[in-house]
Symmetry: C2
Subunit: 204 residues, 2 copies
DNA sequence: CATTTACTAGCCGATCAGTCTATTATTCGG
DNA sequence: CCGAATAATAGACTGATCGGCTAGTAAATG
């Protein structure tokens, strides 16, 4: 039932798509994130992504220099998407700081459930397999964690100012601890295909 | 400088080593654990293990039916080794329950430092890449976590009985939470090649 | 119409997990 | 003590898949 999809590719430069655009590059990145959050970097072959998107190999290397460059862009894209999502919750003035955090957790939980707990966190996945990854990824991945922590810390500081947490709470430490534990919880939830670990950790 | 090592293999069954035994099967398993704690299952080729041990392919498939069967044994071996290590600390009568836990954490920290934070937890590694692993691993891996949690819970119960933690503490939940967070901390420590995450989480 | 841009088909050498045959040391039945 | 069976090794080999490359085709552009 190729309804609209399967655009019947031909040789050479494709005719300019007036609308209903099917940006090949974009599709590769989107599908790349999907598969890598499930299986990681090393275990994912380029051919698998290509097959899923319905694009030949040549196109991939037209848009990306290498698998490493592709992975790099995936990290950037995922980090940006996630930072935006964090802001959407953690900067929501209509709720108290702690409520915002709960909102984020609930949303992330829903997200995992929607994909039947088959997808984890891209940054966590790649972090775990760093031993087999291009060394350039390391700095980028830690940097992403630092960024997420900073956003979280800001929200905790607001919570402290609002008296929702003790006045002597070390918000930077708390934020760091949250992400350490959260990544652990996502890992377990994915392994067990069960949100129990997420819920358990959410009541930290 | 092949001092004693490099045993100069020849064809056919090797002469029985009176002593200074070099059990091939054992060597494969030991090296397998080493490499898999660094790079995981999918990213590790059998040839790589073979090269490191200095054993030809034929020997590998003489001892193991497949890569999957090999991986299965590695999980068992690692789980047993780790359970023994846990008991060594958590059942140490000469210290208080909470001191025992601190002892285990300190030991694990040392262990990671000794390998320059290049090796993580085999169970955590494989858990993360479950999406690309034989489905049979899933049950085994969760079972290992359950086992470790039980040992930890027993120690927490002792701590509660000794008055080291509040009498209304939910030890099962605490134990589950510990392993969730601990795996997250190990992941970060490995990614950043730095024990900061371990220390941070240790003061939970 | 010539050049540039956007793209694709098909192939490459390397490596993957796994198989096969050969070779030799040991074990064991008689 | 001998011969058959078996255990342990060696390493060439297979088909599939890996990441990556190249030559070329067709639309867009001037």
């Amino acid at each position: 039932m190729d309804t609209g999809i399967a655009p019947k590719r031909g040789r050479g430069r494709p005719p300019k798509q007036r609308n209903g655009f099917s940006d090949t590059r974009e599709a590769l990145l989107r599908t790349g994130v999907e598969i890598l959050t499930e299986k990681g970097f090393s275990a994912t072959g380029i051919d698998e992504i290509l097959r899923r998107v319905g694009v030949p190999k040549g196109s991939f290397y037209h848009y990306f220099d290498s698998k490493e460059a592709f992975g790099s862009e995936l990290i950037d894209r995922y980090a940006a998407y996630f930072a935006h999502k964090l802001d959407r919750f953690l900067l929501d003035d209509s709720r108290s700081p702690l409520e915002r955090i709960d909102g984020f957790i609930a949303n992330a939980r829903q997200g995992m459930a929607r994909h039947r707990y088959e997808r984890g966190c891209l940054v966590g996945n790649l972090g775990q397999e760093m031993g087999a990854l291009p060394e350039a990824f390391r700095a980028r991945l830690t940097q992403v964690f630092t960024d997420w922590q900073a956003r979280f810390e800001a929200c905790l500081l607001a919570a402290r100012a609002a008296g929702e947490i003790p006045a002597d709470a070390d918000c930077a430490r708390l934020a760091a601890c949250f992400w350490i534990g959260w990544e652990g919880a996502v890992l377990r939830a994915k392994l067990e295909r069960d949100p129990a670990a997420l819920d358990l950790f959410a009541d930290y």
